[in-house]
């Protein structure tokens, strides 16, 4: 590592977010110009362009870190190919930071407020290079396990660390492993659940894209602990880049003897392969996932028998989520005491959240469990965009619930979130401001779960449809007061009677919005008004003169000539031209359109 001090490194974020923003072009430009300008000869040092995984602040991609011996690490945001020449000439050759392009203070706040354990590698190392992972103590943890620990010791270590499943349920990981380890039989399977279906959550994808080897190592440790010899990583087909990077990592591991028979001569076998999903949310449920691997329709099976007893093809099987596996090597390397010291009494370690919606800095943040929701949104992510007022944050995706302003100080751990009526879920936090209608949000999630219901059990298949019908009626202004009670009653029944996690949690978004935002439901039903001016059918489509500041933003946003505005005049909405697309409504920062 010593020669590292003498080289220049250019780190370019190339997760899905980075690539969408044009990271590939930026990388090509760097590589081209470094050769063309003869940068290496000019500065007399090696100059490496490293493509890294996601580093979290996706809203400001393309992010480029330049590390030079003279200036240390400097981050530039919103980099486009045109900026490349400047960065090379001014920063790298002349040793002068380009202040104008440098990421502003918020970037440091965003990074400093976090605690990166699982995501240490993401955004720092080249995910396609085994050597980069080995430099970060890669495969040291599995070596320690195999050479110094018995399988039971490994399970014990994980148990003592207090690690709980990061997929949402929060079941203690060590305990889960011990069930499978205790099952009789020599043939056992290990599955990594990377079917991250919650819209708005993308931490698993980022880990797979940014640090695939850490998942492989985590799975090797689990396989050693429970005695599994075969494993699958079930990845959503919507994540082509993650599949690609993981496949490359698997190929390298086989070639270098980190997977297969007698790994590294340690006398331990483990085979691992990718199973590509095909677009079914319910496959995130463990029994449905196994049915899918077996090549069937991905429908859940009743439990018991539990997978630990009778799972994939009838053999004992253990399933954990990506983030869970990513934690494992750190626990082994640093010891359970270190891990258990992080977080709260009931939730140990860190948790990654995907913070999206109407927040200033959309992205992935990893914080110690127990930080308050308020701090995650305001301290780390910079608060609400466009100076609007915070209304609620939706935690846990389609299975979760809303956290309103009153309980914003809830710490982010499994039990506190459930108490607040939400859940950790996979860790998606969708921030909503005063323009988001909570009835519409409930309707949105229910549309999703209804569509994704596999249809096997009646409460979920028919119940969700019936609830959605009611919600649609309410958002269209045809609701009745009795509907609210019907929703609550049906929700409770569906939760109790459904076969799998999808149905058991699908009513949550409704139950929690009724609990905290009953007045919004009532306004839709009684006044035929949407208090957030979000439900199209209930909008008046007019400008409120008292609120209009005559800025003309609505005119620029309108695609159909339905706004009349002159400089210094109050805007006017021409109803005949209006297509009700709500572009003007979203563009107006003063809530002057209703």
């Amino acid at each position: 590592m010593s020669e590292d001090n003498a080289i220049v490194k250019i780190l370019i974020c190339q997760g899905t977010g980075g690539i969408s923003a044009g990271a590939k072009q930026v990388e090509e430009e760097f590589t081209r110009q470094i050769a063309e300008k003869g940068i290496v000869a000019q500065i007399g040092k090696r100059c490496d362009v490293v493509k890294t995984g996601c580093r979290g602040l996706c809203a400001n991609d393309v992010l480029v870190d330049v590390i030079t011996p003279e200036l240390g690490r400097v981050t530039y945001d919103f980099v486009v190919p045109e900026d490349v020449a400047g960065i090379l000439d001014q920063h790298i050759v002349a040793n002068e930071v380009i202040e104008k392009k440098k990421a502003k203070a918020y970037y440091n706040t965003f990074v400093d407020q976090q605690m990166r354990v699982v995501m240490t590698g993401c955004g720092q190392i080249d995910p396609e290079k085994l050597s980069a992972y080995l430099e970060e103590d890669g495969f040291k943890a599995i070596e320690k396990c195999v050479k110094q620990m018995k399988p039971a010791d490994v399970i014990d270590e994980v148990k003592k660390s207090g690690l709980r499943g990061r997929g949402g349920g929060g079941f203690p990981t060590g305990m889960k492993w011990s069930f499978c380890a205790a099952s009789p039989g020599h043939h056992k399977y290990l599955i990594c659940n990377a079917d991250e279906g919650d819209p708005g959550a993308f931490m698993d994808r980022s880990i797979l894209e940014g640090d695939p080897y850490c998942i492989i190592e985590g799975m090797m440790i689990a396989a050693y602990a429970i005695g599994a010899t075969g494993g699958y990583v079930y990845v959503r087909a919507e994540y082509p880049l993650a599949i690609d990077r993981l496949q490359k990592a698997l190929d390298v591991c086989y070639a270098k003897g980190y997977l297969g028979k007698n790994i590294q001569g340690w006398g331990f076998d483990f085979d691992l392969r990718i199973k590509k999903g095909a677009g079914a949310f319910v496959c995130g449920e463990e029994t449905a996932l196994m049915a899918s691997i077996e090549g069937e329709r991905g429908m859940p099976r009743p439990r018991p028998p539990f997978p630990a007893v009778k799972g994939l093809w009838g053999f004992p099987t253990n399933i954990n989520n990506v983030e869970t596996f990513a934690n494992v090597r750190h626990i082994i390397n640093k010891g359970h005491e270190w891990y258990a010291a992080l977080g709260t009494d009931t939730t140990k370690g860190t948790k990654i959240f995907a913070v999206t919606g109407k927040v200033k800095h959309t992205g992935l943040v990893e914080v110690p469990a127990g930080m308050s929701v308020r701090d995650v949104i305001y301290k780390v992510c910079g608060g609400i965009a466009n100076n609007r007022k915070f209304k609620a944050v939706q935690a846990g995706g389609p299975s979760g619930g809303c956290i309103p302003a009153e309980v914003l100080d809830t710490p982010v751990d499994y039990d506190s979130l459930i108490k607040a009526g939400a859940m950790m879920g996979s860790g998606g936090l969708v921030v909503m401001d005063e323009t988001t209608c909570m009835v519409d949000v409930a309707r949105f999630f229910l549309t999703f779960t209804k569509m994704e219901s596999c249809g096997k059990c009646v409460p979920c298949r028919i119940g969700l449809k019936a609830m959605l019908d009611i919600l649609e009626r309410i958002t269209e202004g045809r609701g009745e007061m009795a509907d609210i009670d019907t929703l609550l009653e049906m929700g409770a029944t569906i939760k109790k009677a459904s076969l799998c996690g999808l149905g058991q949690t699908a009513p949550n978004p409704i139950l929690s919005t009724v609990k905290y935002f009953r007045h919004e439901y009532e306004a839709h039903i009684l006044d035929k008004r949407c208090p957030s001016n979000s439900c199209k059918e209930l909008l008046l489509w007019q400008v409120v003169p008292e609120k209009c500041v005559k800025c003309g933003a609505c005119l620029r946003a309108c695609p159909s000539n339905a706004i009349k505005w002159e400089k210094g005049e109050i805007a006017e909405l021409i109803k005949e031209n209006c297509t009700k697309c709500k572009s003007c409504y979203d563009a107006c920062r003063f809530m002057a359109i209703e």
Partner: protein, 168 residues
């Protein structure tokens, strides 16, 4: 749903060489039905009916079982798809940022609904849950190109651009 019943699929002549190659590759793998179908779809762009009969015979499963799998998963297609696949993200983040007007505008401009293909086979339109670039919401993709911070105006620009592209 895009997945029409079997009768509607034209039983045109399909070259089964590639399908056979895919089956050869996965023949001994346990749970090979989905990888085989995914491979066939990659090769043909959709799953043509004659390949279903072939898979049924060679893997020794009932065609009904294959249809069960094909219609269960959103990513299998029983009909030819457009040259340009337009995907609009309707995940939570995009939804709260106004994805609905983007989908509605595409519907209006192209005259097709979710998971449908234009008659000239130029466009297929799909609403998808979370493409994973929430920072750029609302988001649209055409084949592999991403368009972030979508507006109604940008929908027209995209259609204009792709109307000029070759159909090959």
């Amino acid at each position: 749903m895009s997945n029409a019943p079997a009768e509607e699929i034209p039983a045109e002549e399909v070259d089964l060489t590639e399908a056979n190659e895919v089956i050869d590759k996965y023949l001994t793998l346990p749970g090979n039905l989905m990888p085989v179908l995914q491979g066939i779809q990659d090769a043909y762009g959709f799953v043509p009916k004659p390949t279903i009969d072939l898979v049924a015979e060679r893997l020794n499963v009932y065609p009904s079982q294959i249809y069960g799998v094909l219609t269960f998963y959103a990513q299998f297609h029983l009909k030819p798809r457009g040259r340009y696949i337009i995907r609009v993200c309707v995940g939570t983040a995009c939804h709260v940022q106004g994805a609905e007007r983007i989908t509605e505008t595409f519907f209006g401009r192209l005259g097709i609904g979710h998971a449908e293909t234009t008659e000239d086979l130029r466009y297929t339109f799909e609403k998808v849950a979370c493409l994973g670039a929430c920072g750029m919401a609302p988001l649209a993709m055409v084949n592999d190109d991403t368009y972030g911070k979508m507006t109604v105006q940008k929908v027209d620009e995209i259609i204009e651009t792709y109307n000029q592209r070759p159909m090959k």
